[in-house]
Structure formats: structure tokens, C-alpha cells
Symmetry: C2
Amino acid sequence: MAENKIKPRILTGFMELLPADQILFNKIYDTIRGVYESFGFLPLDTPVIELSQVLLAKAGGETEKQIYRFNKGDNDLALRFDLTVPLARYVAQHSGELTFPFKRYQMSKVYRGERPQKGRFREFYQCDIDIIGNEELSLVYDGEIPAVIYNIFRKLDFGKFTIRINNRKVLNGFFEALDLSDNITDILRVIDKIDKIGSENVISELERLNIDSSKIQRIMDFITISGTNNEKLEALRNIPMDNEKFAQGVAELEKVTEYMRDFGIEEDYFEIDLTIARGLDYYTGTVYETVLDDYRDLGSVCSGGRYDNLTEYYTNAKLPGIGISIGLTRLFSQLKEAGIIRAESSSLVKALVIPMGADMEYTLKAAGNIRNAGIPVDVYYAQKGMKAKMKYADKLGIPFVAIIGEDEVNNNTVALKNMTTGEQKVVNIDDIAEEIKTQMRKGSN
Amino acid sequence: MAENKIKPRILTGFMELLPADQILFNKIYDTIRGVYESFGFLPLDTPVIELSQVLLAKAGGETEKQIYRFNKGDNDLALRFDLTVPLARYVAQHSGELTFPFKRYQMSKVYRGERPQKGRFREFYQCDIDIIGNEELSLVYDGEIPAVIYNIFRKLDFGKFTIRINNRKVLNGFFEALDLSDNITDILRVIDKIDKIGSENVISELERLNIDSSKIQRIMDFITISGTNNEKLEALRNIPMDNEKFAQGVAELEKVTEYMRDFGIEEDYFEIDLTIARGLDYYTGTVYETVLDDYRDLGSVCSGGRYDNLTEYYTNAKLPGIGISIGLTRLFSQLKEAGIIRAESSSLVKALVIPMGADMEYTLKAAGNIRNAGIPVDVYYAQKGMKAKMKYADKLGIPFVAIIGEDEVNNNTVALKNMTTGEQKVVNIDDIAEEIKTQMRKGSN
């Protein structure tokens, strides 16, 4: 047979988990999915492989270098590097069959062949929601997107977090008024870094862009406006600025914060932050970032914003949208490392049936009774000693064990052991599920 | 801007669904996953891209030709073409960290760049379960695997189905006794086709393999043994055959059918079928196929079996296993085309809140009340007429609509319309969720 064994291994930059961590990962994944669905987002599952010509319609620079691209037959193919481009392609392709506003979620793997480094992955999950309008899209959605995020992070319970919002019209209008429109991309990129590099360095970098010191002063005054959300809005309204776009942005920002409150987002969970620009060129209105208050150095765990036209590379239709993305693989890896989350169990079952003898019919009947009541259950069939069997249940973190010996078979019972409390109780074979449910309600398992 | 639009399209051989079908697909996916988990299978999520050297350790022939293989940097990479090889690699790599028997499920996309043809996909979901033992693996699992499949297909409700089982030891022993071991692979391949090509053609093909007509007669007598499961077992026991392997296979088959009954599989849902061999070389014991009785031409919708050694290309450890796979993409596509399943709704929400005026605070409070009670809900924000709004709900198949006009805001109510019955009822804003739940329990929505 095969004498030369091949070393089993995966590529660097790819995350693969052991069962306990995979269970934890899926729990987070399912929570996000559940909230997305509770707001009416529809599932989408686009191919991993697309035609390069279609996928790279918009790309360029860094992205194009990172892409996994190859030929198969006559086709020039590429693996998707995000979920936004496939969404644009999908909406353009199927616009006649979709109902607008089209709310979709997609939680899938994407691929970027970048040099592997700490916290960066070449294959990672993005959990995206987007809402696409036909010609127009209500501003209420600018409040709904952070409401979805708020519900997710409250449920996930990673501690206090803050959703930071801003509006690109406020920024763009402000720089237009200062006659700095030509430099706006560079300035925004510098401003965006204020959290990382501090005010002093922002000023030096702005000087390097040859901006008048008086204008730099105005920029710094602007981006360091402080106070409560309402105080910041008040300050913005009071800036003497004869610019239509700026005024519109401030009005939008004010309206969006109102909507966010209407959606039930508690005031100290969101914050107007005028430094947020989200590097990407295509955001045109509200923009978001989200930070975990106790772990700010993780950076934004969830970002997005509003854009004017999703599908411009594919159609002439005007389809404005708004969306946000959670980079789940990276987030999971960071949260694990920071000790914010940890695996609790290596099993999904709540009960393990352990036959001491060989009466498989009775054993499987007991297991069937538990499973049919909606409780995940497994049976330990291997011919091992009692100690090994209990150790197995304990190792996997299974909360209940149903032991079946000769007495139990004769009396139509099982010996049900609660692995958390250590308590053991003889229960009729038809009542095991009910007893487990009762004990689960009482206890913590 | 971009003047030359790129035609939005995907590659042939890739399945991409509209929302209503995606909802239906996910419902099936979630049902399968739920049953897998209820039997204690653990989730696994291996990378789509692996090192070619690792992934192709075992491959050859057709598989290797179909593979998506490419270079990135210095790496020779390939997309997984099934979930079994990644499982073998994973188990070999992590054997020290896993608890055996290791039960895992993986429901992921795999890639085969074959020529696209009807019902064949280049990207498709496989929904696999496998149970891997360390050195040994109880025969009870040979009964558990079909029990899982039984529970899934009962839940999915695609109509009556039959799980066909056989044992490779019975086949191998039988042909050994006839002194046909050298031809066994060819003979099994011919036998495997009896359903498709009929007895006559099987005989001709066996003749072409230069097999004595007396032996062909014994083969045909053997593979056409008929009757109930017990009658078939009886007939097998009565075949005069001095072969250890054959005897062991018959004993296993008998034991496995007992276990299947113990697991609660009803007798007419499974059938011993001595023609099943499952082409693959590596099955060594029990083998399975599953057919939908009313749609036999779909072929086997779920196949698998027992193998002696999962990881031989990677380690010297002896890790026997048993597994089965549902090719979900193909199955879904076939079921849709045959009209066995059809999409029921283009929405996941159970209620749509429709504000007639502009009181967003009240509207969002109503929606929040519904959502917080666990009912997925959406709000229709667009400034359209009442008719357009109701049409939207109807088109998406949303069962309840909560209309909010000036009266409702003043009286702290909503007008709740049941879209199935047409009934409308004024309900207090705090009681909407309860009222929807009551009506859902009563009705069919």
C-alpha cells in the first residue's frame, strides 16, 4: 500500500477549528443569521468562483493583486474576494425578478491571497447585509442597519460596544466649503487614522499635504467636536458654512440618530464620530464603524455605509443601497485570543445513553425517546468500562448521562445522572426527556 | 463613469437561486443539519483551498482531471472535490486532539470542473456524516447511519423512500468462492448497473468478461434473491458457500437490519439489495443507497458505506469509519424540476408593518414589539399608496400586515390584517405579537 505518507496539513492563513471551537463559531454565526432574518433580510448564496471579467469589473490595485485567479478550459476565473461585487452582479442580473427594496444577507467565505500575518486570513467569512432600493431608498434604513448590529452585539454579549456613525455629505461638504475638494480623498484617509495615530500626527500629515494652517485649524476644530450626540449635532448646525451638501449631511445625520433611537438603540451604544470616513470611495451618505469598548485595539468589528449606485459597472439602472459587514473569521480569532469568548463544550448533545449490557433494543428505545422530544442525544456503544464511559461524557461536556444496566431493563427505567450536580435518579424510560427538560429548566445546563 | 457595461452573468454549471428558492433550499439544509446534530454529529468546516499534494494523495483518473488546480505564489493549490479527503486529512492531522468515535458532519460546497450537463454541477453542496473509530468501530453505527437518513427523509417529506443496504463482505466472499476475485471490480461495476440496464444486459456484460455461464447463472441467482428482508437473509444463510468472508458478511447484514429496526426504521422503508456495490474501491462492509419510491429515475439521493481505513495516505493509524452523503445541490435541482418541492414564500418575515403616515417612532415601536417576541418582521417605509403596499406584502407571501394610520397612533393600536383569511382586527400595540401567535396557531400560516 501507500508507503510514503503525506504530511496532513493546511495552508497558512486558513482557519480550521477543532470541534469545541467550531461549535462556538457556529453559535455566533447562527446568532448573526437569526437577527438578520428577524429583520427580513433574505438569504443569498452566490458561487465562490466567478468569471474574472465580471468579478474584476470594479477592482484594481491591491485587491487585484490578492485575488486567486486561474484558468480552467477557456475560462478566466477568480474566487470572490468580497460579497459586495457578487451582490452587485446578482442584482444587475436579476433586477427584473427581485422585489425592491431588496434586503439580502450573505454569510460566506471570501478569498484574498495576501501575505499571511497575525489576524489576517486568506479565507474568511464575511457576514453582510445590504438593502438595495430601486431609484430611491428611505433614510429610515440608515437607522435600521445599526439597529440590526445593535441587536446582534447585545445578543452576542461580548460586553459594551459603540456604534460610531458619520455622514460622508457632512465631510464632503465641509471640505468643499474649504476649497479642498481636490485633496478630499487624501485628507479623509489621514482623518480616518486619528484613532490610531493621534491628533499631532494628523496635523503633521495634513501639513505634508500642503494645506494652509488656518484650514488645518478648522479641520481639527471640526473633527474634534465633542459632547453628547445632541451636543455634536448642535455644534454642527452652528458651524457657519454656506454649503448645501454639508447642510444636507447634518440634516441626515440628525434624522438618522432619531431613527436609531426609535429602533430602540440605547443612547450610550452609539456615537456621532466626525472622523469616520471609511476609506472606500463609494460611500456617499451615512457611514458606520463598531468598536468593543473594552477592546478598542481590535479596531472596527463591523463597518459599512450608504452608497449611491451598487451596479454601475453592469447596468444603467440607479440602485442606491446601504450595507454593513462583520468579518467573522477575524473577529472570532481576535475574541478567542483576547479571552472574551471560549469554547464550553465539545459536544452538541445534551444526553449520552450508556448501555452496560448488550440490550441494544432497549438502549436505542431510550435514546429515541429523548431524541424524539427534541433533545440531541448520543449513545456510547464501545465495549469499555464504566469509568471510561463516564470520562467520555465528562470530557465532551455532556450534561446528562442515562445509564442502562440489567435492573433498568427489567424495571423499564434508566439511571439518569446530572453531570453538573452529580445527582442520579431512576426514571421511567418514557419520562426521561421530560425529566431532562425539568432539570435543564432548573439548572444551568 | 464606466461607459462599457459588463454583462452580469455566472458560469454554466453553477447553481444560484432567487430568494424564494434560496429560502426553500435553506429549509432543507437546516432540516438535514438539525437531524445530524440531534444524533451528536459535530460540525466541521475545512478550507475550500488545500495543497494539491495533500488533497490529491489518493485521487487519480477522472477526479484529477476534473479538479480546479492552480498556482499562487510558490503553492500548488486545488479546490476540494469532496469532503471525505479533507476529513481524512483533518483526522490524521488532529487525531491526538479528537475524541473517538469521532462523529462529524460537514455540509459544504465542493468543486468539480466537469463538462456541464443536465443535473450535474461544478459547484455543489455535499452533506456528509462520518463516524471514525480508533482501531475499531461498533457495528451499531451501521444501523445508526441509515437511522439518521430515515429521520431526515421522513422530516423532509418528499414521499415514500427506500434505504437499500448491502454488505461488501457478502459480495466479495461470494466472488472469492466462485474463484472470481481477480475480476471482482469489473463484476461489481456491472452488477451495480442492473437497475439501469436490466438483467439481460448484465448477463451480456458478464459474458464479455469471459465468465463461465455456470458461474454467471450463480451470480444471477444470487443478485436476484427476492422476498422480505428476513426471507432474503434466510436465502443467504442457505447458500452453500464455504467462505469465511461471506458468512461474516451475512451475519453483519443480519445484525445491521436488527439495529435498523431498533433505531425505529419502519420495515418498508429499508430493503436488503444484493446488487448494491457502490463502485468505490474503499468500501469494505455495509453499503447504502437511498431512492425516492415515486421518483426512482432520480437514482440514489444518498449513498455511503463502511470503510476500513480513512487515513492510510497520511498516517499508519488504523481508523475505520462509516459515512453517507447527500448531494444536496443536485437533489434540490431534481426535486424542483420534478415538481416535488416548490417555493412557498419570497420572505422570511411573518409580519409587515405599514405606516400610512410619518410617525416613525410609533411604527418602529410596533415592529420592535413583534420582533422582540421572536417573530421576524419588516417595515414598509417607501412613500407609496396603500394598494402598492398591500401588493408588496401579497407578492412576498407575508402572512400578516399591521397597518398604522392616524387613528391607530391616537388609540395606541394597529390594524392587523391576516393575509390568508382577509380578516382585519384592531389590536393594542402591546398585544400584536400575542395576537399573531394566536392566529398562527389557529391557522395554517
